[in-house]
């Protein structure tokens, strides 16, 4: 006999000697477990699949901090806790327990205990729920995931709305700042309306125009003053009517003569002014150019006046008549009136010159203040520009935030919150539980564990003190010969042992038979009696 076979035989004998120590607990656990498992109703597991992907959200505004978006594995790592949050679970309570309190912690935990979460691959997870009613199981899973997606979206929308409100407030403040800058600019422009830099050219041109007009007025005054002696001379030379003498000039001749004289005087004055300007400015100066042009025009006027004078004299020679001679009184009156008008014109010209000079002085003063105003304006413009740019940026950010919030509110869940409900739960056809074999195996395991525990206790507290072999007693009798002999000629087995054997065998047979009967009745292998049928579970 080899050592292995001896070991096997010894093990078998040991197991046989302890057969009831293990068989009785196993059978005792197995019977109630079998009766219980056949009573359990069938359960159906409804599952829904959700995919996860990373959502890259752009910052709506530069004023907001940068947020680190989660990777898919991070989302999956926290998805179970997010799915089982209280608001989501509370949506399932009315389905599973219509009279349950959705705010009760124990009820919520009971729902959490029924929800199964399984990760599928790297980017998907499944949410399942077992219930005797397959339709209710599917409905509960869908309600849970709908609530989950809704709450996730609401959470994102709340964040986006917060950003939007913040950025809109920023935009409003930026706009108010820009308005204040604009008001300050307007007030400044109003306060410095006469000295704004953009008026520099117009003021300069006005000054030139006034200078020219002053010169014209002065020329007019000068011409009028120069015509007065001529008129006085003509008054002195004009013979009253009926008196002897040569024929007096006709009024046309007088007027033409006066025009020539006046034009000549104006030309002389212009030439004088031109000479003065050339002493001060170059030929490119506008005043010099204007004076040169004026001189040329006056020269043409003089020539024109002389031509007119010649024509008047020819008409007078050709039309010499007595009537003309009898009009000398009228001529005198006319000359006197003209002289008065010349004096008046001179006076008005000088008054106009005075007024124009005053105005010129005011314009010069305004022109002198323009650099200061320009400096102040240069200081105001950057602030206005900065406020304008800030307002534009804030408006842009607020517009983006509004768009982001709107997108989160109405966009696809996969694009907004990263979760996509790939397949909704449908009522399952085949039952998924209960794991009756698992329960039975557990009962067997419990029985074996109890038997082993009894075996250990027996070894520790009973068997260890028993003498079972010579080795157990050798240390008590040192030096003595210890021999082992079988019980010679022992009679039949003790009655107590037989009774125990039969009792244990009967109990084990009863338990195993009962368990097999219960399982067979559940499977339909045997006809269950009427009293046992209500106990059998199955489809709810």
């Amino acid at each position: 006999m080899s050592a292995l076979s001896a070991l096997v035989r010894r093990g078998l004998r040991s197991a046989w000697e302890r057969r009831w120590l293990f068989a009785v607990p196993v059978a005792t656990f197995l019977l109630p477990a079998a009766v219980w498992v056949v009573h359990l109703p069938d359960t159906y597991r409804a599952s829904a699949l959700v995919s996860v992907r990373q959502v890259i959200a752009a910052r709506p505004g530069g004023a907001l901090p940068t947020t680190q978006e989660w990777r898919p594995e991070q989302i999956l790592a926290t998805a179970r806790d997010r799915v089982l949050q209280t608001p989501n679970v509370a949506a399932v309570v009315p389905l599973l327990w219509p009279k349950g309190n959705p705010t009760d912690t124990y009820t919520l935990n009971a729902v959490r205990g029924k929800v199964l979460y399984d990760q599928v691959g790297d980017t998907r997870f499944a949410v399942s729920l077992e219930h005797p009613d397959p339709a209710l199981a599917a409905e509960a899973v869908n309600a849970l995931l709908d609530a989950f997606l809704h709450n996730e979206r609401e959470q994102k929308v709340r964040v986006a709305e917060g950003q939007r409100e913040f950025l809109e407030g920023e935009a409003r403040r930026a706009r108010e700042g820009y308005d204040r800058a604009l008001d300050a600019m307007e007030a400044f422009r109003k306060d410095h309306a006469d000295t704004m830099p953009d008026q520099k050219d117009s003021i300069t041109a006005e000054l030139h125009r006034i200078e020219q007009e002053v010169r014209e007025r002065e020329n007019d005054a000068q011409r009028s003053r120069m015509l007065v002696p001529e008129v006085d001379k003509m008054l002195r030379t004009t013979v009253p009517s009926g008196t002897a003498g040569g024929a007096p000039p006709t009024p046309d001749e007088v007027v033409a003569q006066l025009k020539v004289t006046s034009a000549q005087a104006a030309l002389d004055q212009a030439k004088k002014t031109l000479a003065e300007l050339r002493l001060r400015y170059t030929e490119k100066n506008d005043a010099v150019k204007s004076a040169v042009l004026q001189v040329s025009l006056l020269e043409k006027d003089v020539d024109t006046a002389k031509v007119g004078l010649e024509a008047a004299r020819r008409r007078a020679d050709a039309d010499a008549s007595s009537r003309r001679r009898t009009d000398s009184e009228g001529l005198l009156a006319y000359l006197r009136q003209w002289r008065e008008s010349l004096l008046g014109e001179e006076e008005r010209a000088r008054a106009a010159v005075t007024e124009l000079r005053a105005r010129s002085e005011r314009l010069a003063a305004r022109l002198a203040e323009i650099p200061s105003t320009d400096d102040q304006l240069r200081k105001l413009k950057p602030a206005l520009e900065s406020a304008y740019q800030a307002s534009l940026r804030a408006e842009d950010a607020a517009r983006n935030a509004r768009a982001a919030a709107e997108f989160l509110r109405n966009g696809d869940t996969g694009d907004t919150i990263g979760f996509t409900l790939e397949s909704r739960a449908v009522p399952p056809v085949q039952p998924s539980g209960p794991g009756r074999m698992r329960y039975l195996a557990t009962a067997v395991a419990f029985g074996l564990a109890l038997g082993y525990g009894l075996h250990v206790l027996r070894r520790r507290y009973v068997d260890d003190d028993l003498v079972a072999s010579p080795a157990d007693i050798a240390d008590l009798v040192p030096g003595a010969l210890v021999v082992a002999v079988p019980l010679v000629g022992e009679g039949p087995a003790p009655r107590r042992g037989v009774v125990v054997d039969w009792a244990c065998a009967a109990w084990v047979a009863l338990c195993l038979g009962g368990a097999l009967f219960a399982l067979g009745a559940h499977k339909g292998w045997v006809e269950a009696p009427a009293w046992f049928r209500p106990w059998l579970g199955g489809r709810a």
Binding site: R10, R13, S14, R459, D463, D465, L466, V467, A468, S469, P470, A471, D472, I473, L476, V477, P478, G479, A480, L481, V482, V483, A484, V485, P486, L487, V488, G489, E490, G491, P492
Partner: protein, 275 residues
């Protein structure tokens, strides 16, 4: 009764005019009444031992009811080897011609002590050619196991038919084995004195080189405690799976040095470590 004045062990009846013990009713074959011994083998006490029979060569066991000795015609090698080794140990520990009183003790009743004592006596008796006959002493006055096995429950009838009081020496059919029956007790409460047992053993030791004393259970009978102190050597009998080490320790007390050997009934030497 323990604590009362112990009663002296009654001296066995003289061999003079001693009748041959008739077989009690129900006596097994091996215990058949001994025929009249030849004169040349007469003992100093005049006891005529029984002639050995073929069945007496076997090892013996006590029947379940304790009333019969059952022969094991073909004892297994392990059993025979165990008793032979124990016999050899007794002989080795008994040098010279000095008598040796070997007490077979156990902690409790029912551990196979009587059968072990008979078998040990049988094995020693077969060595009589070298050491002389062996006297098997029934020291259990209450249970009277050996006496009942060999003489039945009634009084022993002498050669003249008159009853002989216990204790007495009778011859047995076992080869080289005589038996001293247990004394009759006036009541169940008396306990013998050690001095009486020592005196009796000394007197019997002059006649038998070996005395095998079937002692009462030490932990069940105070007589066992007395006899445990009186014997020279002890053979302890334990029953595997029933006797505890604590009981063994209490049984031996401080006399573990006198233990010649231990017979473990119901155990296999080869399976000593299966637990």
């Amino acid at each position: 009764m323990i604590g009362e004045e112990p009663r002296d062990v009654p001296a066995p009846a003289s061999h003079e005019g001693r009748p041959v013990v008739p077989p009690p009713p129900g006596m097994p074959d091996v215990g058949a009444p001994a025929p009249t011994p030849p004169a040349e083998v007469a003992t100093p006490y005049g006891l005529v031992p029984s002639q050995p029979s073929s069945s007496a060569a076997a090892l013996l066991a006590v029947s379940t009811d304790g009333a019969r000795l059952v022969a094991t015609p073909q004892p297994d090698r392990v059993t025979a080897d165990g008793y032979l080794r124990m016999t050899a140990r007794v002989l080795i520990e008994s040098p010279g011609e000095a008598s040796r009183v070997v007490g077979v003790v156990s902690a409790h009743e029912g551990e196979g002590r009587t059968a072990a004592a008979v078998n040990l006596a049988v094995c020693l008796g077969r060595a009589k050619g070298r050491r002389g006959r062996v006297l098997l002493v029934d020291g259990d006055a209450r249970r009277r196991g050996l006496t009942r096995l060999f003489c039945g429950t009634g009084p022993v009838a002498g050669p003249d038919g008159a009853p002989v009081p216990h204790p007495t020496l009778i011859g047995t059919a076992l080869e080289g084995v005589d038996l001293m029956t247990a004394p009759d007790l006036d009541d169940g409460l008396t306990v013998s004195t050690p001095a009486a047992w020592v005196h009796t053993f000394r007197e019997l030791g002059a006649l038998y080189p070996h005395l095998v004393v079937d002692c009462p259970a030490v932990l069940d009978d105070p007589e066992g405690l007395v006899l445990r102190e009186c014997v020279e050597r002890i053979v302890l009998v334990v029953k595997a799976g029933e006797t505890t080490r604590t009981a063994v320790t209490r049984t031996l007390g401080s006399l573990s040095g006198r233990v010649l050997g231990v017979i473990v009934q119901g155990a296999h030497a080869a399976d000593g470590g299966w637990r």
